[in-house]
């Protein structure tokens, strides 16, 4: 977003997005779908900076999502706190969890890193399903309506501007991160570890910091999700969220600011409006993930670019 023209284009696109559910008829189902797209896109952006910038695959991100959802459920339904306090608690809690996971996995790379982070998610799931403090298998019900500064979001239509605002903030944060010193150092470690060491970059410190940037983003999605659902259980740690995040991050192409948002939108569009039933949707989502990584390593954008270049070459050949 650093080029002025790009910024204008981005703002125009984001404002169109804000008005889109209204333009599409404004039914409750459309607003619900848009709120969910915003939530799951925010969740995916958290993972995106780990996968695209740090070059590692964290499978622990469902735990950050759940941390946000559970913290909010506890803060609002049990302790009667307002959304702003719940958000602060969510960020603090996710930073604490990220610090813990980060410390354990600091020296691990590649598949061992992924393996341990996957184990974190499975343990998180058994913990959420069994620990009575987190409601055990019943979960936590009775999360009140989102109400802040006199604005009450009783329906998804009223929650949509809030979800949109946080989506915009997330995109801005990710874009600033990519231009920041930390973001550049993370990329250096990812693309050229030797150069990073020679430039005096401490890989472990950077990894930890990137983790600490990523976790609150995904946890904020959990915060919004709790208000949309009004009920939270161990289902927030379902494999579905992990597969969805991973697919959204790789589907369009890596290190493209809009990619996770477009990825999530395409997936949710299929699930909400072209669904073939839960189990078939699962096969489709998994199948897309397999196909993209195995056959289209640069994502759909890579295919689009190649097709465009091919057509351009043909046209110039025909002209000459």
């Amino acid at each position: 977003m650093h080029h002025p023209l790009q910024s204008v284009a981005w703002w125009a696109a984001l404002l169109c997005l804000l008005a889109a559910p209204w333009a599409l008829g404004g039914s409750g189902a459309v607003y619900s779908a848009f709120v969910l797209i915003a939530i799951l896109a925010i969740m995916s952006y958290g993972l995106d900076i780990i996968v695209s910038d740090l070059g590692e695959v964290s499978l622990a991100h469902p735990v950050f999502f759940a941390t946000g959802a559970y913290t909010t459920a506890l803060a609002s339904a049990r302790w009667g706190l307002d959304p702003a306090s719940a958000l602060i608690l969510t960020i603090v809690a996710s930073l604490a969890v990220a610090l813990l996971i980060g410390l354990v996995t600091l020296r691990l790379r590649e598949f061992v890193f992924s393996l341990v982070t996957y184990a974190v998610t499975v343990v998180g799931m058994t913990l959420a399903a069994n620990w009575s403090f987190l409601g055990g298998s019943d979960g936590i019900a009775g999360i009140p309506v989102f109400q802040l500064f006199g604005y009450a979001a009783r329906t998804d239509r009223a929650l949509w501007p809030v979800a949109w605002l946080f989506l915009v903030l997330t995109i801005y944060l990710v874009s600033s991160f990519r231009r920041s010193r930390l973001g550049l150092e993370a990329m250096t470690i990812h693309l050229n570890p030797k150069l990073a060491t020679m430039s005096g970059i401490d890989p472990q410190r950077i990894r930890m910091l990137v983790f600490m940037v990523s976790a609150p983003i995904t946890a904020t999605a959990g915060w919004l999700y709790a208000y949309q659902r009004a009920y939270i259980s161990a289902d927030v740690l379902d494999m579905y969220f992990l597969i969805l995040m991973l697919t959204a991050v790789v589907l369009i192409g890596r290190r493209m600011l809009a990619a996770p948002l477009i990825g999530v939108s395409l997936i949710l569009l299929q699930e909400k409006f072209l669904s073939l039933g839960g189990y078939y949707d699962r096969i489709i989502l998994g199948g897309v993930l397999i196909a993209v990584l195995s056959f289209l390593p640069r994502g759909l954008s890579g295919v689009a670019i190649d097709t465009y270049r091919l057509l351009a070459r043909r046209r110039s050949a025909a002209n000459s």
Partner: protein
């Protein structure tokens, strides 16, 4: 809770863990590959065995090889799909692709077998043996025997035969192996097919111990991680010992502390090992 009974339970469980993990041990240590769909392949193996016995009435001894055949087919198909990633040694992508396969397998299994739990009863699991106040089934004895024979056979093949030598060579340096005229694609496909067969065999033997659900794969893969990591990645004898140690740990932890948290406890063990001995995680290509 009787101490001797827990000891027996732990030993049976330990052999079960080792058998479930053997496919991964070979995959990771010998061919430097990973499979996050391992748990769902275990689930599929259990359901195919159940389906063959319950719906067609064929005997257990026929159901096992059929289940293993399906395992071979799934393993082959997975590796066929991601062969380019494997040859590039893009482990991170291989990992996510196998995770995707797990997701697909779970959806497909729920469609085909239904999402309700089933009980996989075999002639062996229904015949009990009582020695004083200790209880054990023939199924438990079969698990121990098959695991011991399988591990001994595998160790022999990897260390002593021509095939084992080729596999270790591919693991050590795939490019050099290819230059030396080894068909590395065939080795990778074969190793994955072996993983499919091994986990299906483990499922046919171990799954009768508990009710089976199409969603159970998620948990199963953790046990495998812990066994493989504790055993020293790629070590066949190491994962046998790690399996037994972990089985004993789970049995006693479940009996004296809490059964619900035994997976979490297992994970804590893994973390402690990682923090104390990060060197134990160094992949030794072709290690045995």
């Amino acid at each position: 809770m009787n101490f001797a009974q827990q000891l027996i339970n732990g030993l049976v469980l330990g052999h079960a863990y080792a058998l479930i993990a053997i496919g991964w041990t070979v995959l990771l240590g010998v061919a430097r590959l990973v499979n996050f769909g391992h748990g769902q392949m275990y689930m599929l193996g259990a359901f195919v065995t159940w389906f063959v016995m319950a719906k067609t009435g064929l005997p257990y001894l026929v159901a096992i090889p059929l289940s293993m055949t399906v395992g071979v087919a799934v393993g082959y198909l997975m590796q066929r799909t991601m062969l380019q990633l494997t040859i590039k040694q893009d482990l991170v992508s291989v990992m996510i692709v196998t995770l995707g396969f797990g997701h697909v397998l779970e959806g497909a299994a729920a469609l085909f077998f239904g999402s309700t739990g089933q009980i996989l009863d075999t002639p062996l699991s229904l015949s009990n043996i009582y020695i004083a106040d200790i209880w054990i089934t023939w199924q438990d004895i079969a698990i121990i025997l098959v695991t011991v024979v399988f591990f001994a056979g595998l160790k022999y093949v990897i260390e002593k035969t021509e095939l084992g030598r080729l596999i270790r060579m591919v693991a050590e340096d795939p490019k050099l192996a290819a230059l030396a005229g080894i068909d590395i694609q065939k080795i990778y496909l074969g190793v994955f097919a072996f993983e499919g067969a091994a986990v299906a065999l483990a499922a046919s033997l171990v799954a009768p111990r508990t009710p089976i659900l199409t969603s159970m794969g998620f948990n199963e893969v953790i046990i495998t991680f812990v066994v493989v990591v504790l055993g020293g990645i790629g070590s066949v004898a190491g994962s046998y010992m790690a399996g037994i140690g972990l089985g004993l740990f789970t049995a006693f932890f479940g009996a004296y502390v809490s059964a619900a948290y035994s997976t979490a406890a297992m994970f804590i063990v893994l973390i402690i090992v990682l923090v104390i001995r990060p060197g134990g995680l160094a992949t030794r290509p072709g290690g045995h």
